[in-house]
Symmetry: C2
Subunit: 241 residues, 2 copies
């Protein structure tokens, strides 16, 4: 199978690596479309959301009617590109990609949508050659997954950044927290996270909360986040069963 | 070494298990002090912060002058108990404890403070029998560590809870995010978290951010957290070097 990957950001770079073993992969620069093949089976548009339409427009007259053109975004609907091509789809890998960090691709969940059942099947096969977690998801479900992943990954990493900075500013080291972080993650992967909740907010330990808020008074950014998330934990009623 | 552990919450329960291999450990009910020994070498008060003073008061006339009395809290200063005993200290394990979850105690960081260098050394030896991460930390540093751990552990787990609920409410499964969470954690343990940040906020991808905020409009609790943490990521200048 011939796959042209258009885009050289974090996702495009990793997709090339991931697909290489099982397909004939060709990386393509998104602006110029330099080196693009006229006869690829699949074109993956892996660029920022606001650039997808432009790339798709430029691509329109360069591809065979039988080819599949898919974007790799969690946010952009299929309808953003489907009017332009006979066969279109979405090929969305739900992972946090950093260019220099090696990944175990087999663990990356892929969410697939196709303009037809046939397109969907071809994209699913391409994903299954890489990963053991391949799902179908329409644009609405994909968006929900993307939003949930912003909370579960991007915001989580930012809280660690805040934590790191707080300790570093006080001559302490983030390394002291790494065992705690590892265990926090291990628990969330073994049970539902609401069952794993610990800390002053869920204990309603107002003595500790007040004392922390007093310490954070000089850091309004931290204080606001502390108050909001403490309040959210205290008001949570998230046992779903 | 004889150690009486006063308190049967998550921390007390795990401390008993952790210390058992290398010491003669005796669990004690905090209200009645039933079964307490008069001649223990160390008494560990492992109760909620607002109960530490009461337990310490009750303990005052039950222990030898040569014994060490230490609490296990990250928040309460040593001075809350030091006036009551000749030898006092803090024996703070920085970990997320759930009663039913097994732990690898050797990975738990312990933060120790003593009313004298001698007390400090004895508590450090007791901790080193359990863990390979034993530090001295005064009350101020311990409080900073505790605050940082609320961000890095309690708040992080809550974001996973929100994520879980968001997906479950839409017929999707939190399992779909677990590979992402595992990788997010793995990255934060290999590099500084500010280097690992991904997602729409750090990319300043306002198209995606606006689209997410529109979807979250029906969920004011989620929207407020989304806006606040997105803003915090965008205004972050956390490269510390």
């Amino acid at each position: 199978m011939k796959i042209d990957v258009i885009g050289r950001g974090n996702v495009g770079t990793h997709l090339c690596k991931a697909l290489q073993g099982n397909a004939d992969v060709n990386p393509v620069a998104p602006r110029t479309l330099d080196g693009i093949r006229g006869d690829a089976d699949i074109y993956l548009i892996s660029v920022s959301d606001d650039a997808i339409s432009d790339v798709a427009e430029n691509l329109k007259h360069r591809v065979n009617e039988s080819s599949i053109v898919a974007h790799t975004s969690g946010t952009t609907p299929l309808s953003a590109i489907s009017p332009l091509f006979a066969n279109s789809g979405v090929f969305y890998p739900l992972q946090t990609f950093s260019k220099d960090v090696e990944l175990d691709y087999i663990e990356i969940p892929f969410f697939i949508e196709g303009s037809s059942a046939e397109v969907s099947n071809i994209l699913k096969e391409a994903a299954k050659a890489v990963s053991k977690h391949v799902y179908e998801a329409d644009s609405e479900n994909r968006k929900s997954l993307h939003i949930a992943s912003v909370f579960a990954c991007n915001f989580v990493n930012h809280l660690w950044t805040l934590s790191d900075k707080y300790l570093t500013d006080r001559g302490l080291s983030f390394d002291m927290l790494r065992p705690l972080i590892t265990e926090t993650c291990r628990k969330a992967c073994r049970m539902r996270p609401y069952e794993a909740q610990t800390g002053p907010a869920v204990r309603r330990d107002t003595v500790t909360i007040t004392s922390h808020e007093k310490s954070l008074a000089e850091n309004p950014g931290y204080l606001k986040i502390y108050e909001m998330l403490t309040h959210s934990i205290m008001n949570n009623s998230f046992s779903h069963e």
